[in-house]
């Protein structure tokens, strides 16, 4: 088991560095010339910074200088074109709370709703309740998220005026009014999760409900409720739990679309800006941030399968 975990971590680090090297070289090959007026202090300090990190030297030298900064000081550089002259890490630290806030509460609300709907649909299989839920699930899964962002923003925020149109961009707090301003965004983020989880839970639970041990459970005298809760639910959770875990890990990465639609001042908006302006350091850092989250989430989800279900032996041949 530990051998397997170590091997996975080793592979993960290797993949991370391969992607980082590739991104670095490809991004740095794009010419990016900055010319400053002598009086522009910010611009000149950026130039000095670039000179110190060997921007006029070959790419490979630049890369090792870049790695050196990361390994010795965990310094991922400063912004050249956005948040000029400010540390990339510090800016992420400012933006991350918004993304995590909105995603955390979205997941917190969506996961129970998704589970309950899925269980309900499975128990009412092929009855009208199940049909209604299935149709809604197909609708939400098919329709792109920016469409229901629009529907929610237009009808609930604009026409009915229940929520503000744009989120509160003050510092993150546990204030009720702050929460309310983020509620439509959370709703949009949560809808997709609810639909996915409902569909998955229903599929898993219906499969378990038809298995033989359920018949045995009923035959030995358990009521339908007892059999469902004690046997079916616990077994159907085996594949669902890792999915929920993945959902909670991804609260750090967030959604580009929903953040843009509701003007959430989070990581997503920053990433889009870094792509449009092609800021070397921001693009590199945020890309690697997303890659790291993806890799770690994949690993944890995989390992959790073995933890949830003892029948699965990790790394077994």
């Amino acid at each position: 088991m530990w051998k397997y975990v170590l091997k996975r971590i080793g592979l993960m680090v290797l993949t991370f560095f391969l992607i980082m090297t590739m991104c670095f070289i490809l991004i740095r090959l794009v010419p990016d010339v900055i010319t400053c007026t002598p009086t522009d202090n910010v611009c000149n300090s950026i130039l000095a910074w670039r000179e110190a990190l060997g921007y006029n030297k070959p790419i490979i030298v630049q890369y090792f200088l870049y790695l050196k900064e990361i390994f010795t000081k965990f310094d991922w550089g400063i912004g050249f074109k956005m948040y000029k002259n400010q540390s990339v890490i510090a800016i992420l630290g400012e933006k991350l709370p918004y993304t995590m806030y909105v995603n955390f509460f979205a997941s917190l609300m969506a996961v129970p709703v998704g589970l309950i709907l899925g269980i309900f649909a499975a128990l009412k299989k092929n009855k009208w309740q199940d049909q209604v839920i299935s149709v809604l699930v197909v609708l939400v899964i098919s329709v792109p998220s920016y469409i229901y962002c629009f529907v929610i923003q237009y009808f609930i925020c604009y026409k009915l005026g229940w929520f503000p149109l744009i989120v509160n961009s003050g510092s993150v707090s546990l204030d009720w009014s702050f929460f309310v301003s983020y509620l439509p965004a959370m709703l949009c983020l949560g809808l997709g999760t609810v639909a996915g989880l409902t569909r998955y839970t229903r599929a898993e639970l219906t499969e378990v409900l038809t298995s033989e041990f359920m018949l045995l459970a009923r035959a030995k005298g358990l009521t339908r409720g007892q059999a469902t809760v004690r046997h079916a639910l616990r077994n159907s959770m085996v594949p669902i739990f890792p999915m929920i875990l993945g959902e909670f890990i991804s609260i750090i990465s967030g959604s580009l679309i929903v953040e843009k639609f509701f003007s959430v001042p989070g990581v997503g908006a920053m990433y889009i800006e870094s792509i449009n302006k092609l800021d070397y350091n921001f693009f590199m850092f945020l890309s690697m941030f997303y890659v790291a989250i993806g890799l770690v989430a994949g690993l944890i989800v995989d390992l959790s399968y073995g933890w949830v279900d003892p029948r699965i032996r990790m790394g077994a041949k």
């Binding site: 993949t15 391969l18 992607i19 590739m22 991104c23 490809l26 991004i27 794009v30 197909v138 609708l139 899964i141 098919s142 329709v143 792109p144 920016y146 469409i147 629009f150 529907v151 237009y154 604009y158 580009l256 679309i257 843009k260 639609f261 990433y271 889009i272 792509i275 449009n276 092609l278 693009f283 890309s287 997303y290 890659v291 993806g294 890799l295």
Partner: protein, 508 residues
């Protein structure tokens, strides 16, 4: 005493002659199946036909594809063709003219100033009622007019023409009947207010009248409301020359400044009435044309990318799975590595290199970027199927009989992968369409400079004005939602039909 025969217990008159060998000297073989044979494909098609929802979705999808292919050729508008003034006009179909529905009209509540101005140039089609609103703060009562306005009427605009253009227009204009003239008399903005002592107010009124060609009457100093004469009529202030005739142009340097009726001028320029079946967006572009060509881009990209991805995936997965061993390990590491790169990074890098550096069309860069990592899923499916079937006895038999690798791969093993490949790739086109529209919505991909449009870009533009003009975002939103829903239902139906495990499941 009993004879020999009677030694046998005679119970019911059965003799040994009654016993014969059933298959004596007969050939023993399986009974031929009497029912009709149903092949894999025929069965899939049959089961797909049973799924009514998928059939409906497929039909709608077909209609949408035809719509996207045909409509851009018939509307008569270009994707980026923008009229200066026909912005945010509502959908209009000439067949519904005057019905109040789909005829470019809407009900608005306007104040006195706009009511008079609209009526003066014919924007108001019908007056529903007048209400009075009392303002406590100002202690005044203002009239509010509920009117039906024609969003296609803009009245007059000032426009500069060169001499030759002016002559051409005048020639055309002279042939028109009096109430259809394009060139309208100029307005005297200076004389009637010459006596005003407050120069700042006077100049403000003058410059307002010089830009707004619909103000052909005197207005009040402060409020801009129309100034009536004693009988309550508007006091028009047209410009007259020394002979008492209307003045039709002002010479500004070598340019002719004319006051033209924009609707009629539009007909003069374009040769047809301004009719926008779905209205126009905020820059005056026809939504229908943009919608159809955006849809065409999405669909073309979705299908072409999927087909290439499937072919690449099959080739890659077949090589991996068939040869196995070191080949497989190396190729599998490559595809694992590629699958870990977030697609947005790949797309951005292609965008930077191809579009920003070499001015390649962004559609091509997007196409390449989607292919770069899109084939991984198909390759994994095919690899798995190859692993499952390559060591089966029939394959070994074929190999023993001297079949070449190519024959083994494509004749003997690959047919087993067709089902899983179809089931895993039917949802690829909607995935590509979703990615494309999301990227262009986020502004990461920008088609504007290339005379191409996409649904995502339309949504992004519509989002800016949806509180005042929901029409602009409504159509692309409906289009993409319907497209995705139909694709998903159709794809799911197809997937179930081609899933061998579900064979016969529908009959029970």
């Amino acid at each position: 005493m009993a004879d020999e025969k009677n030694n046998l217990p005679v119970s019911d008159g059965v003799s040994s002659d009654d016993f014969v060998f059933v298959q004596d000297k007969q050939k023993l073989s399986d009974v031929e199946i009497k029912t009709k044979k149903i092949g894999y494909l025929a069965d899939a098609m049959y089961r797909f036909g049973q799924n009514k929802g998928s059939i409906v979705a497929g039909t709608i999808l077909l209609v949408m594809i035809l719509f996207s292919v045909i409509v851009p050729f018939v509307t008569g508008y270009q994707v980026n063709e923008a009229d200066d003034y026909y912005q945010n006009v509502l959908p209009k179909n000439p067949a519904f003219e005057g019905s109040g529905f789909w005829d470019g009209t809407q009900t608005e509540v306007v104040g006195e100033t706009y009511y008079v101005e609209y009526t003066n140039y014919g924007r108001v089609k019908k007056l529903f009622g007048i209400s009075e609103e009392y303002s406590e703060i100002l202690d005044t009562t203002t009239k509010q007019y509920t009117v039906l306005v024609d969003t296609y009427e803009f009245g007059c605009k000032y426009k500069y023409f060169s001499l030759s253009d002016y002559q051409k227009l005048k020639e055309y204009n002279d042939l028109l009947p009096d109430d259809q003239k394009i060139i309208q008399p100029m307005v005297d903005t200076l004389t009637w207010n010459a006596s005003w002592t407050n120069v700042a107010v006077r100049d403000a009124v003058r410059s307002k009248m010089q830009t707004d060609a619909n103000l052909t009457y005197q207005i009040k100093k402060q409020t801009g409301e129309p100034a009536y004469d004693v009988d309550g009529n508007l006091q028009y202030c047209y410009k007259f020359d020394t002979n008492g005739n209307y003045v039709y142009y002002l010479l500004d340097g070598s340019a002719y400044k004319l006051r033209i009726n924009w609707h009629r001028y539009y007909v003069y320029v374009h040769g047809h009435e301004p009719v926008f079946l779905l209205g126009t967006d905020s820059t005056g572009r026809d939504i229908l044309t943009r919608l159809a060509s955006g849809g065409r881009l999405s669909l073309a990209l979705g299908f072409s990318v999927s087909i290439i991805n499937i072919i690449l995936g099959i080739i890659y997965g077949a090589i991996e799975g068939y040869y196995g061993g070191a080949t497989d390990i190396v190729m599998e590491r490559i595809s694992e590595f590629l699958s870990e790169i977030p697609s947005i990074i790949v797309i951005t890098l292609f965008q930077v290199y191809m579009v920003n550096q070499h001015n390649v069309n962004p559609v091509i860069s997007l196409f390449v970027a989607f292919i770069a990592t899109g084939w991984l899923g198909t390759a994994a499916t095919v690899r798995m199927q190859f692993y499952r079937y390559k060591n089966q006895d029939y394959v070994l038999a074929a190999r023993t009989l001297g079949a070449k690798d190519r024959q083994l791969i494509f004749r003997h093993i690959f047919p087993n992968a067709v089902g899983p490949v179809i089931t895993s790739s039917v949802l690829m086109p909607p995935g590509v369409i979703f990615s494309e529209s999301a990227l262009s919505y986020l502004g990461i991909i920008n088609f504007t400079a290339y005379n191409i449009t996409s649904i995502g870009a339309m949504l992004s533009e519509g989002q800016k004005v949806y509180t005042t003009y929901p029409n602009v975002i409504l159509w692309p939103a409906i289009f993409i939602s319907l497209l995705m829903i139909c694709f998903n239902i159709f794809g799911n139906g197809l997937r179930d039909a081609f899933n061998p495990q579900l064979r016969g499941a529908g009959d029970s």
